[in-house]
Symmetry: C2
DNA sequence: ATACATACTGTAAAAATATACATCATTGAT
DNA sequence: ATCAATGATGTATATTTTTACAGTATGTAT
């Protein structure tokens, strides 16, 4: 994250502070900065004052470790509700909440993400390059979509528990269901899919719509 | 974020520290904590030492503001690549990256989110309750999906620029395109849709698949 | 050539912070 | 009934951290 306005030395100071906070959880003292850069505390102080003018950090005099890095406070994305007509839509007042994935998909703390590959779930609207969020703590119910390890390979399928076996159904007629016998080793449910996120560009939109419409025709065969 | 193991007083201390860091960017001194809770600095110190034993924070003696809150370091969600067979899939080594929406949808810094309502874009796989990410800085190209303000009402449609007008096409045969004359006032493009996120539970999955299959039948009529 | 901003050194002093005792009250567990 | 853990007070002291001066040097734009 190079700040174009900063001089080389200032950037070094900035980087050190950033790293220090990452490691320690609190900002460094002037002495710590100066030691690292082999300069005097006073020189470090000057840097902070100059950088403050450039608005990349806040330096509070007389406060030990009174350094706050600005800019990269880009946390969450504002979400606007459906504003009442008349109001300027994009105003602060219409911010309903701030987006944080963890809040949005509200799952246990150890959710993880996996990219979808292939088209075996395309009828459930999961296509290649989508990123699915998986909750490993959740026990799958029939019909839910799960990520499972079948013979060492991760796969995304619909889950159905039957008398003596577990059936993993793809959502695409081109593919056959996978049947897991109770004795099967090398099989493991990694978790339940609780969300998807898709990055859209024009090409992706077009592909999606094509596939979607093709489905209609295919189903008449 | 209530920590079950903490006593009430400890929770108060924890909450204050959290809030203080949020506001100032660096942790408080013992004196600041003690002042807020109307106790002696020494008492505050004891709390920190006790809480450290409970692993909710780190307190470094002799270091001013030497407090680091632990636990809520839950930033981003780990994303696993498709692991080579044999490797334990869910191991740290397979973490490809850490999920941050802003990185994922890679847009200008002022992206925002809006919830989708209605089914006018259902054929482009945008359904009610989906959250779309919108980039206000991006200029729409023909065929891209945009969020626009039409007579004060926000709406999501496909964008097409024609000789004398702009056409906003829904992706659902039930609805008619909206045609905007150049002179039209009260019309404004708010941004281009660059991503979607959907929270999935079993009910939502079922609804999606139902609608998706129904599309096939409808399109044969 | 001459400001001006950056990038320092070095030292003493001032201010901000943390800590060591000594002491006490309350509560829950053995 | 007593121990251990929590939650405190209060004061003097030690330590950490910042700051005020007083200088020096270098490059760059005017």
């Amino acid at each position: 994250m190079m700040n174009k306005n900063l001089t080389q030395r200032q950037q070094e100071v900035f980087d050190f502070i950033q790293q220090y906070i990452e490691v320690n959880g609190y900002p460094p003292t002037l002495a710590e900065i100066s030691e690292k850069l082999s300069i005097q505390p006073n020189a470090a102080r000057t840097h902070l004052l100059l950088m403050q003018r450039k608005n990349v950090l806040r330096y509070v005099p007389n406060i030990s470790r009174g350094i706050e890095l600005l800019k990269q406070k880009r946390h969450g994305i504002p979400i606007y509700g459906t504003a009442p007509a008349g109001h300027p839509f994009l105003s602060q007042e219409n911010v309903v909440e701030n987006f944080e994935v963890r809040n949005y998909i509200s799952a246990s703390t150890d959710v993880f993400g996996v990219y979808v590959r292939g088209d075996s779930m395309k009828d459930a609207m999961l296509v290649s390059e989508d990123l699915v969020f998986v909750d490993p703590k959740k026990t799958p119910r029939n019909g839910e979509i799960v990520v499972a390890l079948v013979e060492g390979e991760p796969t995304i399928k619909r889950y159905y528990k039957e008398a003596n076996a577990i059936v993993l159904k793809p959502e695409n007629k081109k593919y056959q269901p996978i049947i897991i016998q109770k004795s099967d080793d090398g099989f493991r449910i990694l978790g339940v899919v609780i969300g998807v996120i898709r990055s859209l560009d024009k090409k992706k939109i077009d592909t999606l719509v094509e596939e979607h419409k093709a489905y209609g025709k295919a189903s008449v065969n």
